[in-house]
Amino acid sequence: MLQDNHSSSPSMGAAIPASVLITPCCDRCTHSPATPCRHLVECLDHGPICHTDDLCRTRRADRLATARRGGVGTLIFVGAGTCGRANGALKIISKIKEFLTEKAIAATLVETGCVGYCQREVFVDVQAPGQPRLSYCDVSPDNVAELLDAIFVQGQWVNPFLFGRYPDEATSGWEQVPLVADAPFFKQQRKVVLEQCGVIDPTSLDAALARGAFQAAAKALLTMTPEETCAQVLASGLRGRGGAGFPTGRKWQVALSTPSAQKYVICNADEGDPGAFMDRAVLESDPFRLLEGLLVAGYAIGASRGYIYCRAEYPLAIQRLQEAIAQCHQVGLLGENILDSVFSFDVTIKQGAGAFVCGEETAILASIEGGRGMPRVRPPYPAVSGLHGKPTVLNNVETLANIAPILTRGAPWFAGLGVNGAAGTKVFALSGTIRNTGLVEVPVGVPMRQIIFDIGGGALPGHEIKAVQIGGPSGGCIPTPYMDIAVDYGSLQTLGAMMGSGGLVVMDERSCMVDVARFFMEFIRNESCGKCTPCREGTTRMFEILDEITTKPVGDELRRLERFRGILKLEELAETVKETSLCGLGQSAANPVLSTLRFFRHEYEAHILENRCPAGACTGLRTYRIETALCIGCTLCKKACPQNAILGDRKQAHYIVADRCIGCGACQTVCRQDAVLVAL
């Protein structure tokens, strides 16, 4: 996997699939990476342009139609992104292969990425000649045989697995099958960034080209000046989707106006926010769209070199990117004089090594330069002095994935997508205790209620949603009564939350908000780079205070006192860390504490005053008891107890000394009689 991530030149071990679409239609087509043709992209749709030949025209149109469909004959698409794979997509693929060989059925298997509805993974789509593409869900390695049998043996295309169909003008008679886009989960979504995710083959440049990839790049390179490109992005109102929400066009303009012989663009794909996985989905499912956005960004600011800083935890994303870059090089969409312009561009993948702080832009720079990923004071901003001291633009994956649609469909279209003057759409990663998990793309500014209840389907059966955590460790918790808040950059801040990168973790009554605050503080404490004191020391102290509150004060009177004093200091400490930290990580570190204190103060009070966790989630506050009628005196619990808090003789019922018990639950785990119970 690591073979060559320094240079992106196509030197990978595996053969790069050749692009059929870009193969010359006859001798008169002269395009090659060495002799690039400016009409390359335009020619795909309306070609040939340089000569008139009906045969060439038909040949090109046929190739395009095949590429758009995904291949010829019967096609079987399997959603094999990371979440698909976790649900057994690779096993399903090998089972389908076995089935096809056994029954001697001719069909082509195509691996796609993630369609976004992770809850119903694995998705298997089948498209037979003369039929629309039909999507089947909830497929697993155990039931795939059943699905294949229904379709290919019994001819039952409409069966319990059927999820919907994709629109297809060439076929008719399938109107009774609902469209995929009309399913309750998708109906209220507005897909721009995720448009092709899960639909196209992410390993095929042709599949992307057939659906309009690189048209925006061609438009920018051939018809627009860098100034116009920046102005267009600024006019669209696109704001950084990584968390800070800075206007992308303005960032580009600053970098463009800073004179320098060498500039850089960097795609921040170090999606470290726990609870966020939209960037992974884009990287795995539609890598060409990201490359196109990066290319346009490079052109707009005058950079010839791009970096993609991707987490090493996403091996599949890195593989997809490597394949995509190699294919673009092969046909001249990356490299020297792209589309016969003076613009040359090369992309290098840098693997992150696991540091949350490397999501901060100056920390990324330090990391790419080979050092410890520690942020530095801004200004100068990277757009003025960034990588190796050169002007550098850093954009998040989702931001760059928005660039192509903005250029092809126009800035006013994008600016009008949102609600109440907000621009564009935002992808949210919906997870936690909610019915439908997955990726949701909605116009910026829709009410939270719509995302959680209409699309997400609300709470799990028998439970009640208590709060939604938005923005990861830098964000806050929004309690249920505030669900009508508009999800845009400004409104969320009034509740002490932030948009962040778009992780939405839903919590029900089983989650304890103090425990959640403690969880985030532990994360931030571990991830603080240690450069500035407020963050390094402050987060550690805040964690200690929260840890103290969520464990039982055993024995010592002093500890009881400390718990009271701690909570008094917590709020003050949080404000200090917020105001005095160097970078965004520290400045937002206190948000989870401040927001839970604001909305769930009663839970803190129960922990401190009553030594009780109302949700029963804080293991440190649990009290266990042994049901004497069930205990057989096997002494297992007594041996397992780290505190020697369990007394009792062999073959006699045991009991727990409450004062010594720290609530670790070790006894409950080892008990074979289920005699250890949580005392409420």
């Binding site: 649900n87 992770c118 726990p274 996403y314 080979g370």
Partner: protein, 178 residues
């Protein structure tokens, strides 16, 4: 297994920018970053060993002791936490007899906690030897580990290469992080 020398030969660039990719390749090849490899990289890149060590210990990805046969990465992201990954982690620690992170006593497993694996919709998730397993409960996890334990043990040569120092000789100063 590629040795550090082979990695250095294949990687022409000697700029400081190469440090992290080289460390990653060493770990990929040998399972961890041995002390000797850090010294060798420092010499090759013309930088103090302290700098190499400083960078290597800054990032969560790098390990400094040889891993066990099977690597369990448990996701501690928010969604996994809400869906009970803390209990899974406690269980794994008890079952494998590991204090916080590291190798089980029999050397079969290495337990690593990861901030987020990015498969939040399937929480709680672990990655066992690179493969994801989602929607876990303690029972499912036990079944999974039982199945792995029943596999024959791999040869005991594990991850020791000519340049690799035995685990005991790795940096003594590697802090005993809790």
């Amino acid at each position: 297994m590629r040795s550090v020398e082979e990695i250095l030969t294949a990687w022409g660039d000697r700029s400081p920018e190469s440090l992290i990719p080289l460390l990653q390749q060493v770990q990929e090849a040998q399972g961890y970053v041995p002390r000797a490899a850090m010294t060798r990289l420092a010499a090759a890149l013309g930088m103090p060993v302290a700098r190499v060590y400083g960078v290597a210990t800054f990032y969560n990805q790098f390990r400094f002791t040889a891993p066990g046969e099977h690597i369990i990465e448990i996701c501690r992201g928010t969604a996994c936490h809400v869906r009970g990954s803390a209990a899974l982690l406690d269980h794994l620690r008890r079952r494998l007899k590991v204090d916080a992170e590291g190798n089980s006593r029999d050397g079969r497993f290495t337990l690593i906690t990861v901030a987020c694996l990015g498969a939040c919709s399937l929480a709680p998730v672990i990655r066992l030897d690179g493969e994801f397993y989602g929607g876990l409960t303690i029972e499912k996890l036990d079944q999974l580990l039982d199945a792995v334990e029943q596999q024959p043990r791999r040869a005991a040569t594990a991850a020791v290469s000519p340049v690799a120092a035995p685990p005991a000789a790795t940096c003594q100063c590697e802090h005993q992080r809790g």
